[in-house]
């Protein structure tokens, strides 16, 4: 990109200004935090420079308070076990209710959340989740491509650590309960990462 890295480093600080002034302080700290995470991620994901930039997400109410931390952090379930489409399709996909029931017909059936889930299942209607990570409709982001680049066709990459790759854009979900948007996911965010990891610069890769 034409903009020099020096400028970018400035830019990073500027991005504080992007957020609402009232929140700028919080943003700043979360920024530091995210930098730390990024640093951590860099350690785990070989030949990849994670994208930079932060966003202070709002709490999105969900029909079921799905605890990512319990599933990923505590029980160490791989992201792609539930978001199974991610490596085959452009969308990662919300796991089908049947998949949840696969375990939760036995596991933790007494918990209120699971009870709620079971209701949905018996009523034969899937829960309506609220979208947290959204991009404009003229952006055609492909999960498959990015997973191939950073995980499957990335030698020295352990698929078990895939959550670190997800963290590039989704933040450290394994520490969250309900997912929350902590990355800007705007074009600058994407482009910078594409520059650093020599991704394609062809507009039609994402816009069509």
């Amino acid at each position: 990109m034409f903009v020099s890295n020096k400028f970018l480093s400035k830019r990073r600080v500027n991005s504080v200004g992007q957020g609402k002034v009232s929140q700028s302080l919080a943003v700043f700290f979360s920024l530091l935090a995210s930098m730390f995470i990024v640093a951590a991620a860099q350690a785990e994901v070989p030949n990849a420079k994670p994208p930079t930039g932060t966003h202070s997400g709002e709490d999105v109410p969900q029909p079921i308070e799905f605890p990512h931390d319990v599933h990923v952090d505590v029980n160490g379930i791989n992201c792609m076990y539930c978001h199974t489409y991610a490596r085959r399709s452009k969308v990662a996909g919300i796991p089908p209710t049947s998949k949840c029931m696969g375990c939760h017909s036995i596991v933790a059936t007494d918990k209120p959340r699971i009870k709620k889930l079971t209701e949905y299942w018996e009523k034969n209607e899937p829960p309506q989740w609220n979208k947290v990570h959204d991009v404009p409709d003229f952006v055609h982001f492909t999960h498959e491509k990015h997973l191939q680049r950073f995980v499957f066709k990335n030698e020295g990459m352990d698929v078990a650590n895939v959550s670190e790759v997800c963290a590039f854009c989704h933040g450290d979900v394994k520490k969250m309960t309900v997912a929350e948007k902590v990355k800007p996911l705007n074009m600058g965010f994407c482009v910078r990462c594409h520059e650093q990891n020599d991704g394609p610069s062809d507009c039609w890769k994402c816009h069509k």
């Binding site: 990109m1 034409f2 409709d137 003229f138 055609h140 062809d202 507009c203 039609w204 816009h207 069509k208």
Partner: protein, 281 residues
Amino acid sequence: MSLKNILENWSHYRQTIEDGGHYEYEHMWGMAIDLNKCTGCNACSVACYAENNLPTVGKDRMRKGQGMHWLRMERYWDEPEMGGEEKEYQERGGSFLPMMCQQCNAATCEPVCPVAATYHTPDGLNAQVYNRCIGSRYCSNNCPYRLRYFNFYSYYEESWPEPLNMQLNPDLSVRDKGVMEKCTFCIQRIRTGKDKASREDRTVQDGDIVTACAQTCPTEAIVFGDLLDQKSQVTKLWKAQQVELGKTKQDKANTELRGYRVLEGLNTDPCVMYMDRVREA
């Protein structure tokens, strides 16, 4: 596109084949259209409407010339000097010419766009980025084929009443007012085909990717493929007709061959080759 792209790549995107410019490309998508086979049945055009989320604009706007037919089937009657004038009837029927974006290599629309919303892709395609377009309409003015269409209204508001909108193709955008658009050689299909190939760890084979018009053509008059792939059918056709990219005038060994490119004398270097229609004397 980034300034780097403009400064560094553009020049070689526009190199002609003598300069080996095309070998920089991943692909060079092209077409060969046999007007001897083309019956002018218009199926390609409707298929294009179905594939590319083209709105129907209604009688009045269509008559005003505000329609969105990316692929238009042109019909010409014989010229007077071809024995049309003094004869009482059109003895040789009509001449049909399916016109979709010619994906010129020296596209005249590209240099004039103030915001570089249209540019040349590494696939040899002539891209139009809707969300970058500001609607100066300069590109359309500068297209000698008049193959760029403009959203004069927010057509989506009336074009797809429930549940017609369920037919919309999620692989590409629905355009709002003030945006220029044109045939993309079904970029979404190209993308899908390439993704599939890479998923299976292979290169794209001839026939993996077919545009909507080529696929639906009942007479298979439209052939789509990669001009860099020496084995592809379209390349064979171009070779057989002794038509080459990067020429303003084809020097053919056999001058009787039918292959030609529309208005190639303008040095737009289009990627679509046509083959003359044939009539019994």
